[in-house]
Amino acid sequence: MGADRSAGTNAGAGGVRAVVTGLGVVAPTGIGVEAYWAATLAGANGIRRLTRFDPSSYPSQLAGEVVGYDAAERLPSRLVAQTDRMTQLALTAGGLAVADAGIDPAALPEYGAGVVTAASGGGVEFGQRELEALWSKGRQHVSAYQSFAWFYAVNTGQLSIRHGLRGPSGVIVTEQAGGLDAVGHARRHLRRSPATDYGRSPAMGHSQGLSMVFSGGVDAALSPWGWVAQLATGLISRGGDPARAYRPFAADADGYVPGEGGAILVVESLAAARARGARVYGEIAGYAATLDPAPGSCSGSGGEPGLRRCAELALADAGVLPGQVDAVVADGAGVPSLDEVEAAAIGAIFGPRGVPVTVPKSGTGRLFSGGAALDLAAALLSMRDGVLPPTPGVDRPAAPYQLDLVTRAPRELPVRTVLVLARGYGGFNAAVVVRGM
């Protein structure tokens, strides 16, 4: 059976409810919420042959690249010099989230806002460049900024510095599950130190309470070093057709395609959001995380992977029954053995074809720590507009999965409650339930 890493309790201490009030998106299918969402509803596919390095000597050559992004146009040169691409994309997403939330971080109390982002491998493109400089030219050629630019916590740090966010902060590393785990942890922070509870935890420096946490994740690892690390999992598609390489739940699925980008979300206490008259996308109503049993281990549940239990815990945390869920944004690994596990979990909870399921990420590739954060943004936008985006590249799901997969065209329906699922390599499962206000 899957071990609970952290099943949250509903509303938590002090009754703090966490809502999302700002979205900043940088994705292979668009930069900015509206560009991304329009492309996603249209079923656009941002996967193409790699251009950030020459992939011709590698068995997999496709990726979801963020195109038309010039860091020098979007960020001060002081920041460009000291950051990996993943951090540049994260800072851009953070700036978009600030604007979308309509906040002025500088006007917040000193410890009133924190940052919790997800990460996976860190700044590998920057790191590879500097290691190459070390080997080929000598230590004088290594950037002083290598000291932190590679670091997996650097997105949190740079967002904190840029926007003056000095409240409780951290980084979560659970591979592709991280985007949800980070948001779950952001909610935990908001509950521990609500902004109305002045001076409650002086030992942690929460002298003025916490009203918001910047969360989510943005990743980029499209360099040879990052690429070989991904290839080693054996889960990457070797298909050559960008429109067909990543086909979650398809009968002929043969792996996923990596991508870069993600989303930064402003997670705010409902009380703070209401006090400033903020637009609310939805509530982080439920969250849970589990771990798969170790391969080959013999446990009470017969070794069932932890995804079903994770989803059930998140629904229970939200106080939501399966019949109240309008849609599932699935992990959609595109690896048959993993698709089978997820389809079984969804079927066990909702029944055969019991709930609309979509995997918009087949149009972006899997963005590692950014992937689930972007899925969360898609879920919130589905609620806003009453429409589910399709799963690009998939005509129909394999029959045995018995899934009601949204394919080919967006599906209009009232969307009030969405379950978002994510899995990370190594047995991580995370689930979030978002609910309209």
Binding site: S77, L79, Q82, Q140, Y145
Partner: protein, 86 residues
């Protein structure tokens, strides 16, 4: 013989650590503190590292601590270059 000029220093600064928003490195910066130019110790380390590479010198650690302005840094580097020739 090789000398480090302000123009070259500014070019190296731009290339190695960038230009802070609201700061004009082409302005009258000779006696402005590096910290007021948006240059922290790491930015200065990156800059002096590039100077060492480009000019084939090795600056003592105290240079980083003592060179608080572009003028001070130019003097310390050029003193080093003079010694190299002598």
């Amino acid at each position: 013989m090789a000398r480090l000029t302000l123009d070259t220093l500014v070019r190296i600064m731009r290339e190695s650590a960038g230009e802070e928003e609201g700061v004009d490195l082409d302005g009258d910066i000779l006696d402005t503190l590096f910290i007021d130019l948006g240059y922290d110790s790491l930015a200065l380390l990156q800059t002096t590292g590039r100077i060492e590479r480009d000019f084939g010198i090795e600056l003592d650690d105290y240079v980083l601590a003592e060179a608080e302005t572009p003028r001070a840094l130019l003097e310390l580097v050029n003193a080093d270059l003079d010694e190299l020739v002598a």
